[in-house]
């Protein structure tokens, strides 16, 4: 459903070329939750921004449901849902107005949008919030509204950027439920996070990203086998440490 091939992005910072993403390739199938993991600055967000068409890659390409982003960016964008922890709301609009606005942006007809909103409001428990001004919502309520916004146009591929950042236990549980729902309805999901413990519980497949390069990818059991480590945290420790077993294996 989501196919990323040799995606590369370089930036110039202080007269030095930095490769933020270096030849990244991966595939995510319908109903699969893929965890793109890495420390801060590993290139996770840049990867998502390239998939979303917000940043033009220097090399490589992305295909969303068979549509190449570089060939038809709007068709590709319409098949993507995107949720980020830093997402804001329009404070002076009601939740309903805001969500219907986004449905309109994605070309969902007004009648269909109302139906979809009704269904998603039930799933994410925001029915009581629909006519409230978005500026008055609490952090948790705002998060649920944002999650509904990402799904309002029923995209086959969902991208989640650090979805649990800044949330309390209840908020994190909501995210877990949300991702379970996405898996259940057959979406291809990419979750970018540095919370490895959460990723272990959430994802089916993993990609370990370090300095723009995908160092390892596969299921958790395959990863354990290759690294000889039990948990993702330990594997990451090895990755950051040049003399680690995993690095030796990769070399």
């Amino acid at each position: 459903m989501l196919h990323i091939h040799a995606l590369t992005k370089r930036f110039v910072a202080e007269n030095e070329v930095v490769c933020a993403v270096d030849g990244l390739s991966l595939d995510v199938q319908p109903g699969e939750v893929y965890g793109l993991l890495g420390p801060n600055g590993a290139g996770k967000t840049t990867t998502l921004r390239m998939v979303l068409g917000l940043v033009v890659p220097d090399d490589g390409y992305t295909e969303v449901a068979g549509v190449r982003t570089s060939v038809d960016p709007f068709a590709a964008k319409s098949k993507l849902g995107f949720v980020s922890a830093s997402d804001g709301v329009y404070p002076w609009l009601s939740v309903r107005e805001m969500l219907l606005y986004f449905a309109d942006l994605y070309g969902v007809s007004p009648d269909e949008a109302v139906e979809r909103l009704k269904m998603l409001a039930d799933v994410m428990d925001i029915k009581a919030l629909l006519d409230r001004r978005a500026g008055t919502l609490s952090t948790g309520q705002r998060q649920r509204v944002t999650l509904v916004r990402g799904l309002i146009h029923d995209p086959p591929v969902m991208l989640l950027d650090e979805p649990t950042r800044g949330l309390d236990v209840v908020g994190v549980q909501t995210i877990f439920r949300y991702i379970a729902h996405l898996r259940q309805v057959g979406k291809a999901v990419v979750v970018c996070t540095h919370r490895l413990d959460e990723a272990e519980r959430l994802c089916d497949n993993f990609g370990l990203l370090h300095r723009g390069k995908l160092r390892y990818h596969g299921t958790l059991s395959a990863l354990r086998e290759a690294s000889g480590r039990q948990h993702l945290v330990e594997m990451f420790d090895d990755l950051m440490n040049p003399s680690s077993a995993l690095n030796e294996t990769n070399a």
Binding site: F11, V55, F74, A76, K77, V89, L105, R149
Partner: protein
């Protein structure tokens, strides 16, 4: 996804809703007009009261005794103290009234300091006659200074009449000369302060537009909604257009609120006649015209604001950009208050200044059509250019907080070439074309005039051709180069079927005659705006044509326009518009632009050229669409212009064909029948030739 009007309305409604619910908008929209005008009118009232005019009972002169009062009153009541009628007429026909009062309790000078009087006077009496009169005025008060000046003048007139009378009795041959006054030039209607009205409205409209412009652009970044917006499958310029509609709407609402508050305050406080002159005032007509002007101004300024705020990453940054711009925009507006500055020359295309000057002309009921049209057209184009810049900046990764890309990267040539320019780039090109072609052609005319006939016609025509290349050739070329668009697809330099060339050639045999007839009809129906002087000059130019080689005429007036204008209108602009508009919309848009650019010629407004040129533009656009190429249009354009010029040059020699054009100016019916048949045949050939499917591919 195509942008439909209903979708644009829905997107704009969301922006408007968001803005209008914000209390900061309401503050500028409602509170400002409610507070500003009453306060302003109070300040104006004080200013006008102390600005030199007498009070309701006239100027008050204070003296110490009843005797002095009687003397001074009698001197002022003497009809000989009034200036001659012509002098009175020159100052509005009114004779200032003076009321002499005795300040019983206190000294006149103290009463003057106490603001009870306009001037104090001391009349010294010797031999039962006044021997000296001392007049004291208040140094810092305009009314007091005026009262003293007028009082001295009145007493001088009386002394003069006395002296002349005595002289005439003593020297009977003495004759005194008369003083008469006349005036030339236009007397401004009402007070100079009338110019302040449009200025205040313009400033208030700016105030209304500033907050929504920041909130809807930089605010998106600050709220964290920008990324979600940019990730949606909607072109940036759609989003920006919706925001633009919202900002213009709020600016207009502010304008209406201000216009209403100003009108009400001025009417209620009685300041209207003082500001706008006796009998004048803001009538319904003036109000409507000023409102339309404010629509234009809002459209312009909203675009400028959006282009700046789209660049900002935060509210604070946007405010930092806008404050200097608002102060800068005050400069041309203040300049417009100066006398002697009119809506002509380069000022007609000077942004902002031209609108305030036009407002001044409207209030003075003295609108010059050419300057007004140029001001309106250039303002619309500037708005388009500013919007194009805003669309490039809005949501751009280089402007994002999280991006490492530099702002400079926005203006670099892209690494990969593209097939055609964007609509925003086309907007920029159009906005540049008008002022550049206006300035270049006017500078050229000025130079030719300064040579006083030393420049021969052939050289003049060659210069004109170069001016055309400089504006309509080089600007689109540079834009194509800068945007790294492929020349062949941008200019639609494609090979096409022979049938289109044949059709173009046959059509041209008929098209010129229709252009000729349309011009003659426009002239006969009084649409032409040329003065007798200009018509005479045009005849002179046509006569001069007969003296030069037909080859020069064809090269400069047919070949150059055919190549340059086709590359610009049916090449660059056609390919840019074709990416977002339907074929017929592209044909009509390029044709109307083609027509409009032919209306502004030098310093004249040739409205009669609009219809025939637009019709020709439609024909050329249709041909360009069917053939998928700019080349057959070039042939049609060249033959059309060439035939028109050859008929103008040789029409005396064409009488053998029954062309008695000198008397009727219309073409003979036989000619019309033949050319009409050619036209239909040409269209039929193009119609039956297999179309090339190259539209927006």
């Amino acid at each position: 996804m195509k942008l439909s009007w209903s979708r644009l309305a829905r997107l704009s409604r969301k922006e408007l809703r968001e803005t209008l619910r914000d209390r900061r908008t309401i503050l500028t929209l409602v509170m400002m007009p409610l507070l500003v005008y009453p306060l302003l009118s109070m300040a104006l009232n004080r200013f006008l009261i102390s600005s030199g005019g007498p009070g309701e009972t006239g100027f008050v002169v204070g003296v110490a005794t009843a005797d002095e009062s009687d003397w001074l009153q009698s001197l002022l009541n003497d009809p000989r103290s009034a200036p001659p009628q012509s002098v009175q007429d020159a100052s509005g026909g009114n004779l200032a009234e003076f009321k002499v009062v005795v300040t019983d309790a206190i000294e006149p000078n103290e009463a003057l300091l106490d603001n009870q009087l306009d001037v104090a006077a001391k009349v010294e009496i010797a031999n039962n006659e006044p021997s000296a009169i001392t007049i004291t005025a208040f140094a810092g008060d305009q009314a007091s200074q005026s009262a003293r000046r007028i009082l001295i003048e009145r007493l001088h007139w009386l002394k003069l009449e006395d002296t002349v009378g005595i002289l005439k009795r003593v020297v009977p041959s003495f004759t005194s000369f008369e003083i008469n006054t006349t005036e030339i030039g236009e007397r401004p209607s009402g007070n100079v302060l009338a110019s302040i009205i449009p200025l205040v409205l313009v400033l208030m409209t700016i105030t209304g537009a500033v907050y929504p412009a920041i909130d809807l652009t930089a605010g998106e970044r600050e709220r964290g909604t920008m990324e979600a917006l940019m990730a949606s499958p909607v072109p940036r310029w759609w989003l920006l257009l919706a925001k633009y509609v919202a900002v213009v709407s709020v600016a207009l609402l502010t304008a209406v609120a201000n216009l209403g508050a100003m009108f009400t305050t001025l009417s209620l406080t009685g300041l209207m006649p003082m500001l706008a002159g006796e009998g004048a005032g803001l009538g319904l007509k003036e109000m409507s015209l000023i409102f339309l002007l404010l629509v234009l101004f809002s459209a312009f300024f909203a675009a400028v604001l959006l282009s700046l705020t789209s660049f900002a990453r935060s509210f604070k940054e946007a405010q930092a950009y806008l404050i200097p711009v608002m102060l800068l925009s005050l400069a041309p507006a203040m300049l417009s208050l100066m006398p002697g500055i009119g809506l002509d020359g380069a000022l007609a295309v000077a942004p902002l200044l031209n609108i305030v000057l036009l407002a001044r002309e409207i209030l003075a009921d003295n609108v010059h059509v050419f300057g007004a049209t140029l001001a309106i057209a250039s303002t619309v184009l500037y708005a388009v250019a500013a919007l194009a810049i805003a669309a490039k900046l809005f949501g751009n990764d280089a402007v994002n907080r999280t991006s490492d890309a530099s702002i400079g990267s926005l203006f670099k040539r892209p690494a990969q070439s593209t097939l055609r320019p964007t609509i925003g780039e086309a907007g920029m090109v159009i906005a540049l074309l008008l002022p550049v072609s206006f300035v270049v052609s006017n500078a050229l005319m000025q130079w030719v005039r300064s040579q006083e006939g030393a420049v021969d016609v052939a050289f003049q025509l060659t210069l004109n051709a170069f001016a055309l290349i400089a504006a309509f050739g080089l600007i689109p070329w540079f834009a194509t180069f800068l945007g790294r668009h492929r020349y062949r697809s941008t200019y639609r330099l494609e090979r096409t079927s022979l049938g289109f060339y044949l059709g173009a050639a046959v059509m041209s045999l008929g098209a010129w005659a229709f252009a000729h007839e349309a011009l003659v009809l426009a002239d006969q129906w009084g649409w032409a705006l040329l003065s007798e002087d200009q018509i005479e000059r045009t005849r002179g130019v046509l006569d001069k044509w007969k003296t030069i080689s037909p080859l020069v005429l064809l090269a400069t007036m047919a070949l150059t326009p055919a190549v340059v204008e086709e590359l610009c209108f049916r090449g660059y602009l056609f390919s840019a518009f074709s990416s977002v508009l339907r074929p017929w919309q592209t044909i009509m848009t390029t044709a109307v632009l083609f027509g409009l650019f032919h209306v502004f010629v030098g310093s004249a407004l040739l409205i009669e050229r609009f219809l025939p040129t637009t019709l020709l533009g439609i024909l050329l656009g249709w041909l360009a669409y069917r053939s998928g190429s700019v080349l057959p249009g070039m042939l049609l354009h060249f033959l059309h212009n060439g035939l028109l010029e050859m008929v103008a040059r040789y029409h005396e020699k064409l009488s053998f064909l029954g062309a008695d054009m000198e008397s009727s100016r219309h073409l003979p019916p036989m000619w019309l029948a033949v050319t009409g048949t050619c036209m239909v045949l040409g269209i039929a050939i193009v119609w039956w030739t297999r179309p090339q499917d190259r539209y927006a591919r």
